[in-house]
């Protein structure tokens, strides 16, 4: 930092010696970061490096144990986010912070409501939102319920929330994780505009090329402390950044030679899911016909006549912006959600089977949200091993749960999958996200499935664990496993899949060959910008 830059303007944010300890973890250790006003400052670091913690400290959500924070040159001390908001800081969180059952408008004004005579002045709020939306190209209908919005819209609401408060310093914690490239580009356009207006942006991402595309300066955090800080110009490649982050080389998800066989492993035909409750189809009417009729009636369909085959040794990737029917597809296959159409494992039709029987027949399931669908956080690891395998060896002996066998098998998983834990009696919540995910992968593989649903298998998992999970998927595929892979990480999708199908508004619209597709083109299909090559 040279003397003359200091002379021109005081840094927008200056973090000095920030240390934050959690029980057993030092999340931040003596961190120092200087963010110049009117710039986009990226912070990178692997999972658990302490980025979110740092930002929460800057936003007043957590108190640092040590260190000082200066905003626009003034030293500040925040007791709550409202203090941070007061000095012009706004934060978009890593996970959406929206109240589903409130409208967009209510979510935006919450905490900074305009009032007239004690009542909420929605007129003024609406005007101001329209104005902001116009100025920054962030268009959303203020009267819709947030629960009806897609992820892109939600992200826009989050940013509007921050702008609405007149923030001059924006913190964006992994805002692009759930966006497709086109949306990312839109977002970056917005950010550049904001920057042009003199706003400061602190931007966190795991996607290094994105970082290189938008940032003016970059700080790298490793294991809770700053290991490098430099202007964009000094960075030569993503690889260089990555090595700073992890101290070693980047893994790639590419699969080499194809292991696809011609033996059919799994088939879905004409899968259709109604939005407003399932109504059984009349007897004798083929599903296609019934689906057509529903369409004609204007019934909203979450899944619209979806068909595909997966062969043994094949990974079928489903690309799509979140909310286009992926969750429904998985749930329909698992039997959690009622659907029309046929689902067959091998030769066996299982469309009328309950979830349990499907699992027993050999479907493995890595859910998209491990905390919601995958784990009993307040139960031990071995009990989590039993989950989903209550009816099978080794977890079960007659009507009993075979505790000893379950423990032993859990120890095997811990060893084989490198789950870092003090023991199998440890509660699942004491494990880090990546280790929890490895446990789930190990569990689902241990049932020797013939078909595996892997939804976002490496989401929120750091590079090390990521590579391990990819390896396991590849090995299983080589052994003849059929995999349905759903991922928002397009590199992962392209790298692992043998075939990619694009889902858009509940329909499979394109079938692509991963060997000659770029993430950008894929994003085009996903957003509907490029018309699909399939008719259903």
């Amino acid at each position: 930092m040279s003397a003359d830059t200091l002379a021109t303007a005081r840094p927008a944010v200056e973090l000095e010696g920030i240390t934050k300890r959690f029980p057993g973890v030092v999340a931040n250790h003596d961190i120092r970061i200087v963010v110049e006003p009117g710039t986009v400052h990226a912070i990178v670091g692997e999972n658990g490096a302490g980025k979110s913690t740092l930002m929460k400290i800057l936003y007043g959500m957590q108190k640092p144990d040590e260190g000082t924070i200066k905003v626009n040159g003034e030293e500040v001390s925040f007791r709550s986010p409202s203090d941070a908001i007061a000095v012009g800081i706004g934060m978009v969180h890593q996970h959406f912070m929206l109240a589903d059952n409130l409208t967009v408008l209510e979510n935006i004004v919450l905490g900074a409501e305009p009032t007239r005579a004690g009542l909420l002045d929605t007129g003024r709020a609406r005007a101001r939102i329209a104005e902001l939306a116009e100025a920054h190209g962030l268009r959303v209908d203020p009267d819709r319920l947030v629960e009806d919005l897609g992820v892109g819209d939600r992200q826009r609401v989050e940013i509007l929330k921050v702008l609405y408060r007149g923030a001059r310093i924006l913190i964006l914690d992994e805002p692009t994780a759930v966006l497709v490239p086109q949306e990312v580009e839109e977002l970056f356009q917005n950010l550049r505009e904001l920057k042009a207006e003199g706003l400061t942006v602190i931007f966190i991402s795991h996607k290094l090329d994105e970082v290189l595309g938008i940032a003016d300066a970059i700080t790298v955090i490793r294991r809770g402390t700053t290991v490098a800080a430099m202007p964009r110009a000094e960075v030569t490649s993503a690889r260089q950044l990555a090595e700073l982050m992890v101290g070693s080389e980047l893994p790639t998800p590419e699969t080499r030679e194809s292991t696809v066989t011609d033996r059919l492993a799994f088939r879905v035909a004409h899968l259709t899911v109604e939005a407003d409750g399932h109504h059984p189809a009349p007897k004798g009417v083929p599903v296609e016909e019934y689906a057509a009729q529903l369409r004609a009636d204007g019934t909203r369909l979450l899944l619209d006549d979806v068909s595909f085959d997966i062969h043994q040794g094949e990974i079928l990737g489903i690309a799509g912006v979140e909310g286009n029917g992926q969750s429904e597809l998985i749930e329909a296959i698992m039997g959690i959600r009622a659907a029309h159409g046929a689902i067959a494992l091998g030769e066996q039709d299982m469309s009328s089977w309950p979830t349990l029987r499907r699992r027993e027949a050999g479907i493995g399931y890595i859910p998209e949200d491990r905390h919601r669908q995958g784990l009993l956080l307040e139960a031990s690891l071995w009990e989590n091993r039993v989950l989903g395998h209550q009816t099978r060896k080794p977890a079960r002996k007659g009507i009993w749960i075979d505790r000893r066998a379950a423990r032993e098998d859990t120890e095997r998983i811990v060893k084989d999958y490198d789950v870092r834990t003090p023991g199998v009696e440890t509660l699942a919540l004491a494990l880090s996200g990546g280790n929890q995910q490895k446990l789930i992968v190990g569990r689902e593989m241990s049932g020797e499935p013939r078909f595996l649903i892997a939804a976002h298998p490496t989401r929120g998992v750091d590079v090390g664990a990521q590579a391990a999970i990819w390896d396991h998927l590849r090995d299983a595929r080589a052994a003849g496993l059929a995999v349905l892979l759903i991922s928002a990480d397009l590199d992962e999708l392209i790298g692992l899949s043998d075939t990619i199908r694009v889902i858009y508004r509940g329909r499979l619209v394109a079938s692509l060959d991963p060997s000659d597709i770029t993430p950008e083109r894929l994003g085009g299909y996903m957003t509907g910008a490029i018309a699909g090559n399939e008719e259903s």
């Binding site: 936003y59 986010p81 934060m91 589903d100 979510n107 409501e113």
Partner: protein, 426 residues
């Protein structure tokens, strides 16, 4: 747009119901089912339930389940009796409110500050309320005390030192009492309407007016003010609220304390009604209130409807045990209406696909409805008077029946009952 349609639909529904009720009255000759006395009793019985329900609404909208309403209501009745005999109805009002609020505060401390399971804390308060009040009675109302001389016993307080004022609407329900005259003609529909209006306006106690006003007030505060928005956000996603600088703890505290105060107010109402505290006079109304709140989909309007239904049915079984039988006819007519609508839908040329698909199911349902209609009709023809034991439970059975029909549409606040701790996101 949808709101307007919903509102109209509600109006049409109410009108249709009134029509059917009026018809049933004329056929059965049970004039009491729409008499002003009936509606006034229904209102009186509905109000304490509704107040408890409102209490539940405030707490649950802020994300705290309050099953301790009953205990808080008990605290309210005792305190109102105690303050009322010494300093009159206004003091009773304040004391009841405060005592309920203290109950709420205990619940708040346990659930919000200590993160205790909401149900557990509520159950403890339901134990605590009757225990503490009985204890206080044993101490303060024992023989030889001035209270005892004034008429207190171990189970009752002395009467209020002066009765709460009871205004009634001039002209319509008092003096010339035009509505009363119209009602006594027993004309179809007109008398029923008159009965309804007169029942709601004749000799209304001030607290009752206040209680009824609390419904729109609650709506206004929760849905039209910034405080209400924050409160609801605390029940939907407290972490989002926290991240925007809302002090979620404080909001929840306020909500739960108000919740207790409302339950206490329900207790005050009972004391005003009886003119004194009587041990056990809440009679489980806290629980019923909670039920009406769920029944009402966590909304003031629905809650009012639930409380009104319960109050009406309770009033009817208390006043005219024979008239309860006419509800068989009422049910039969409703089922008939349902059948007519279904047949028209099924025979319509452009019937929707889901009907085509679910036709067999539909037929089964209609067969059941037909059967039910016939049974109800037969019951109405043959039964003169049910054994009392079956009459007492009219309100409970009705509540269950309505829930069976309407329950699927309920949606509770998303973070209701969730333990919230600052900085610990789920």
């Amino acid at each position: 747009m949808t709101r307007v349609r919903k509102y109209h639909l509600t109006l049409i529904g109410v009108a249709a119901l009134l029509l059917v009720v009026s018809l049933v009255r004329v056929i059965t000759g049970h004039n009491d089912i729409t008499s002003s006395g009936m509606f006034s009793a229904a209102l009186l019985l509905a109000v304490p339930i509704g107040l408890a329900g409102l209490g539940g609404l405030w707490a649950e909208r802020a994300g705290v389940v309050n099953i301790g309403l009953e205990g808080m209501m008990v605290l309210g009745t005792w305190s109102a009796g105690w303050a009322g005999y010494q300093w009159g109805p206004w003091a009773a009002l304040v004391a009841g409110l405060l005592a309920g609020a203290i109950g709420g505060l205990i619940h708040a401390v346990a659930t919000i500050s200590f993160g205790v399971d909401h149900i557990i804390s509520g159950v403890a308060i339901n134990l605590l309320g009757p225990g503490v009040t009985r204890f206080l009675s044993e101490v303060l109302y024992k023989e030889g005390t001035t209270a005892s001389v004034a008429g207190a016993g171990i189970t009752t307080s002395p009467p209020l030192s002066s009765p709460p004022p009871t205004p009634s609407l001039p002209l319509l329900s008092d003096g010339p009492d035009l509505l009363g005259k119209l009602e006594s003609t027993h004309w179809f529909l007109l008398s029923d309407l008159a009965g309804l209006l007169r029942g709601l306006t004749h000799e209304v106690n001030l607290l009752l007016v206040l209680a009824v006003l609390l419904l729109p007030l609650t709506y206004a505060v929760l849905w039209r003010t910034s405080f209400g928005l924050r409160l609801r956000s605390a029940g939907e996603n407290p972490w989002a609220a926290e991240s925007l600088g809302v002090n979620v703890y404080r909001i929840k505290y306020i909500a739960v304390v108000i919740s207790g105060a409302f339950a206490g107010l329900g207790g005050v109402f009972l004391v005003f009604f009886a003119n004194k505290y009587v041990e056990g006079q809440t009679q489980g109304r806290g629980f019923i209130g909670l039920a009406t709140m769920i029944f009402g989909n966590w909304r003031p309007g629905g809650l009012a409807a639930g409380a009104a239904l319960f109050g009406y049915a309770d009033g009817l079984q208390l006043r005219s045990k024979e008239a309860v039988v006419s509800f068989f006819l009422f049910g039969a007519v409703l089922l008939l209406a349902y059948l007519v609508i279904q047949i028209r839908r099924l025979t319509a040329p452009d019937r929707p696909a889901d009907l085509v698909a679910g036709a067999s199911r539909q037929y089964v349902r209609m067969a059941f409805a037909t059967l039910g209609m016939i049974v109800l009709f037969w019951l109405w023809l043959t039964v003169d008077r049910l054994p009392d034991e079956f009459v007492y439970i009219t309100p409970h059975v009705l509540t269950l029946l309505v829930l069976l029909v309407a329950s699927q549409r309920l949606r509770m606040p998303k973070a209701d009952g969730v333990r919230y701790r600052r900085g610990e996101q789920h």
